[in-house]
């Protein structure tokens, strides 16, 4: 006696924002599962890549490169430096800043994460042909480039406190 199982209504299934949100959940799960085997999260990966690609930088610079908020960056760097993947030293030329440097250990860690991430992408895109995979990537780049990706007001003003 099936009481009409009635799956997701078509009207919901075809709403782009919902499709994207659903895909994001799937992608996140895939990525997080794998990264967890190395005790990492996606932010760790993002920061390490940013360092490997563009070299040492201040925390604010890393924040801009990765899209992670300055405030959240602190904890990520705490974790990364606790594992000796990065070093965090005061910048001698601008004493407001810290210089974040990728250590050799960090670089090797990144290599491991890299293969995990690549695996996840492969599984994520498995249902699509290579041509479709390219299409999807291009479409998403067009979409995220147009709307400014993240950062509502990350680089606002912050100096003058309430008073």
């Amino acid at each position: 006696m099936s009481p009409t199982p009635e799956p997701t209504p078509a009207r919901l299934r075809t709403i782009p924002s919902r499709l994207i949100a659903g895909a994001a959940v799937i992608a996140d799960r895939l990525v997080s599962e794998r990264l967890a085997t190395e005790g990492a999260r996606k932010w760790h990966f993002a920061v390490l890549v940013a360092l490997a690609e563009a070299g040492a930088a201040s925390q604010a610079e890393l924040s801009r490169r990765t899209g992670i908020y300055r405030s959240d960056m602190v904890a990520v760097l705490n974790e990364l430096s606790a594992a000796s993947y990065i070093r965090r030293e005061p910048d001698p030329v601008d004493r407001r800043r810290n210089v974040i440097t990728l250590t050799p250990v960090g670089r090797r860690h990144l290599e491991r994460l890299d293969t995990l991430i690549a695996d996840a992408q492969r599984e994520l895109l498995a249902p699509l042909t290579p041509a479709q995979q390219g299409q999807l990537t291009d479409l998403l780049i067009a979409l995220t480039d147009h709307h400014g990706v993240g950062h509502t007001g990350q680089s606002h003003a912050a100096g003058g406190r309430a008073r």
Copy 2:
């Protein structure tokens, strides 16, 4: 003197899972902003649509239709019924269940939300041509259909408690 602003590394920008996550943030922001003008969130919309499309249902049924967890459904229905958009009555034929019914007020509310959602989709997809919009939707449907969209283990076992 610009100390080399150095934006997001290409290696990060082209990772599909990151692109999807970015798109999801944008989409969510667009949708949430609009829904907020009616004091609603996306879950409210999903539930109302599910009711309008497939008729009255139990909470577990709605959970399956929308992808919202049974546990989170409770709060959503509390809010919707507080605004008289739905009614929640015990099911006479199966006393474990509640029957959730869309009220006329709820139906009118849904109509308003519908236009807000449509607006958001339009703005979200604005950078793409109509053909590309169709492509993106199709690709995402293929992707989410393949991996089972949500529900890691929503319909697990739950009856026998620990001890």
